[in-house]
Amino acid sequence: MSSVGQDVRRVPRFFDTSPPPHPPVSWVNRLGLKPSFFAYLLALLLAVLVLYPFLVLLVASFFTGQPGRLGDFTLASYETWLQSWDLLPILANSVIFATARLAIGLSFALLFAWAVARTDVPFSRTMHWLIPVPFFIPDLLTGISWLMLGNPQNGLINILAADWFGIREPVINLHGWGGLIFHASLGTISFMYLMLVGFFQSMDASYEEAAITLGANKYRAMFTITFPMLTPAIMSVSMLVFIHGLESFENPLLFGNPGGVYLFSNEIYRMLAYRHPPQYGAATALSILLIVTTFILLAVQWRKVGGKQFTVVTGKGYRPGKLKLPKSLRWTIFGLFCVYFMLSVVIPVGQIIINSFFPIFGFYSWDMLTLDNWRNVFRDQKAANGLRNTIVFSATAAAAVVVIGGLVGYIRVRTTHWLGRYLELAAWAPWTLPGIVMGLALLWAWALPPYPFNLYGTALVIIIGFIVKGLPLGTATMQSSIHQISPELDECSRVHGGSWLKTVAFIWGPLLRRGGVATFVIVFAIAARDLTIPLLLYQGGTETLTVALLTYYEQGKLGVLAVIALIQLLMVFCLLVLDRLVKGKDD
């Protein structure tokens, strides 16, 4: 590089020639196609995807019919619930369950997030890598696995206790409240950690340090500064998790129902699947009651935090100083993490792996070892269908959410378009809808319209369900990555000759790749692990892996089930690796 003094640089010769022509007027400009056009298009799309099924569900709750035919107006469905005491135990069970799950999940998630982000706990990088793993493993899978170990009749642990120690009574019984809360908490810890750790990482350490300088000890600083500062974030996350607790389906189905514990979603499912004829009216009315309950909770929450939106915070580059913990505490926390990882991943996955190599559940000896299950699964139509469908449906939905979420994020973050707020709200709204309710709403909504809009029984309706289910987290993830792109980067492209379409292609696309992959992975995982939506919407040929899992579980075919579960795990694992690879390449 030469400096001014020597000044050997000459003005390039090309400055004497005439400049290149202005860029041609782009066709998007000639058509007058502005980004605001997409705001309206998106509003329409979200209205069809989210709002419409919701409205149909509401309307349907006042009619006697069933999906495909509304029938006559009636208030009877609500009378079933509101004029009897039937609602009370369901509500009470749901609240007890949601509270317990939240309390346990929050305690451990806070401990882990704080320890990983703010202290010198050993192997913090490994912990940060592994704690989110359980979230990506379907509850159905670990749940079934735990039931193989701990059901009171032939749970392996109980069998072993009887064989080795002669204990006749079951030593462990995962049916009922204990198993339900135990297993549901495992996944919750992982999810809440994912939601919270970003806040801890990006929080300004100087407040804590100031308090310590002023003489507070480290732990006082933690309780008087760190946690209170994060209270709004913690409250928001807690409320969302609590609502999800009210809506749980898989866990109560596996653990609660055999012990007589029913929650909202199970009751709705029971009305549809175990009654003849299915009680659509009662199920729909109960769905609406559940939605109303969650809306009231959300309204209270909004008033408290002043309507502040909850967003997923991703860590900034800034690494605050880490707190030095005494040795005993450091290792206690690490020990807790090890126990957690054993319970949530190692033991259930290990059990599934072992079981996949034996023809009959529980009879494990060297001479019974076989690959039959693995061979059978590839001949099994249901499993093959399930695998293909899960991949196709989840990938399609995930790709759609990346695009929709990206557009919503763009409009919200970069424009002042009045629709921005409503689009964001619409993308968030499905968070409050339990899967089973969403499934029921979609069933009503898409069985109603005439051909060719009647999507009843098609794959498309399941894909729509996955899109709706993935929208909240997907949009939040896209939005936060859009937040990180400085507006000057795309403005610079515009000024120097790129139409907005070219700016999207050459600047936004590459810059959003990482966020896009992260979103894709999250939505794919959410869709792939979901049972409730396909359970109500599948017909012969459109079943997913989770539906196949449940079917085999109910039929007691635990060997094939184990193989399917492992295939599903492998899929999730591949995705996580993909995510890491993209991140690693950018770093």
Binding site: P12, P20, H22, N29, H496
Partner: protein, 367 residues
């Protein structure tokens, strides 16, 4: 290189007016600087020119081409305005190499590949970044990013170059260096440039003319000498350089001259200024007298500093040495102290009595 004209350009954000109707024009090959405190609307003005912000009213012309006119409903999209711009954060695209960054405007203009390579090389040579073509943009230092941003804004021979505080993210030394380099580059290429800064020293050294803005209004347009020597308003006088501002209780404007009293420790000095030294609407109250510190002469007690000057007795209350000159703070009465800048001459101790001589021609009354 064409000139640029802004007529009645206005920007409102809701009820708040960020830029009041303003007229501006930069001549051919001129470096015109928008100078003002932060929040005065400089960036907004520049962004309206670039097409990144839609004006509420007014028009923008580049040469004979109208690129924006609210009354005729003309709004040429940003990408077709043919402007080069250097952003405050440089906006170097992190996913591209240096060469790809610089080539982008040419690619958008469908320039043939071979020409692109050549032009990119030449322009990188011009900004002193030859050989950096394949370097990843994320591995550049601040100064290097700045050069690349400049190369990218120059490579397609834009009609106008826009620069929004391009030097503010550099450290002091580099900033000074780049200042001269930027000026040299602009003059050599003969580019018309609009430059935005809040740093008055930068503005004074860089510009052919500058525009001082305050709260969305243009206070004064002129050459650096005009602005520094003859500030048109009180705001400009206070904003540019270090100045002494003395509040004057009342002014007598009978007979064209402005007469007023300046109280001293002993009595009052009566000053009469000709009308040409008076700026503003001519209020009788709330006036103030402006004097640059380097225009004040300082002598021992009772010393006279020549004709056409008023003499004020005072006492040195503070002194600072800054290499090539002394800066004194001289109290002329119990409320008022004047800054005085003296190069050479005898040193005056703190608390010594001195006499200040202020030439009439150097006093300006803003009334």
């Amino acid at each position: 290189m064409p000139e640029i004209n802004l007529v009645g350009l206005t920007k409102k954000f809701g009820a708040f007016t960020a830029v009041h109707p303003s007229d501006l024009s930069a001549q051919n090959g001129e470096m015109l600087t928008l100078l003002g405190p932060s929040g005065c609307g400089k960036t907004t003005t520049l962004r309206m020119v670039a097409g990144l912000e839609q004006p509420t009213a007014g028009s923008i012309r580049i040469g004979a081409r109208t690129i924006y006119d609210s009354s005729q409903d003309i709004d040429v999209p940003s990408e077709n305005r043919g402007l080069g711009m250097v952003f405050q954060s440089y906006a170097i695209w992190p996913h591209m190499t240096v060469a790809e960054n610089v080539a982008y405007p040419l690619r958008m203009r469908r320039v043939p590949k071979a020409q692109i390579t050549e032009k990119v090389r030449d322009v990188l040579d011009l900004v002193g970044m030859a050989g950096f073509e394949e370097k990843s943009a994320t591995k550049l230092s601040g100064g290097q990013q700045q050069r690349v941003a400049l190369a990218r804004a120059l490579v397609f021979q834009p009609e106008i170059l826009l620069l929004d505080e391009p030097l503010s993210n550099l450290d002091a030394k580099l900033r000074e260096h780049m200042r001269f380099e930027l000026r040299m580059m602009q003059q050599r290429v003969g580019l018309t440039a609009l430059f935005v800064t809040h740093d008055q020293e930068e503005a004074l050294t860089l510009s052919d003319r500058l525009v001082v803005m305050n709260q969305g209004r243009i206070e004064q347009i002129g050459t650096p000498e005009d602005i520094y020597e003859r500030p048109a308003t009180r705001f400009v006088a206070e904003f540019i350089g270090k100045g002494n501002m003395i509040e004057i209780a009342s002014v007598d404007r009978a007979g064209g001259d402005a007469r007023f009293d300046l109280p001293t420790f002993d009595s009052a000095v009566c000053i009469a200024l000709p009308a040409k030294n008076v700026r503003g609407a001519g209020l009788q109250q709330n006036a103030c007298l402006f004097i640059r510190p380097e225009k004040i002469m300082m002598g021992a007690d009772g010393e006279r500093g020549g004709q056409n000057a008023i003499h004020l007795p005072g006492r040195v209350s503070g002194r600072a040495y800054s290499g090539d000159h002394h800066e004194y703070l001289v109290a002329v009465n119990s409320q008022t102290s004047l800054k005085v800048k003296v190069a050479g001459g005898p040193r005056h101790e703190v608390d010594s009595k001195v006499t200040l001589a202020i030439p009439h021609s150097e006093m300006v009354l803003y009334a």
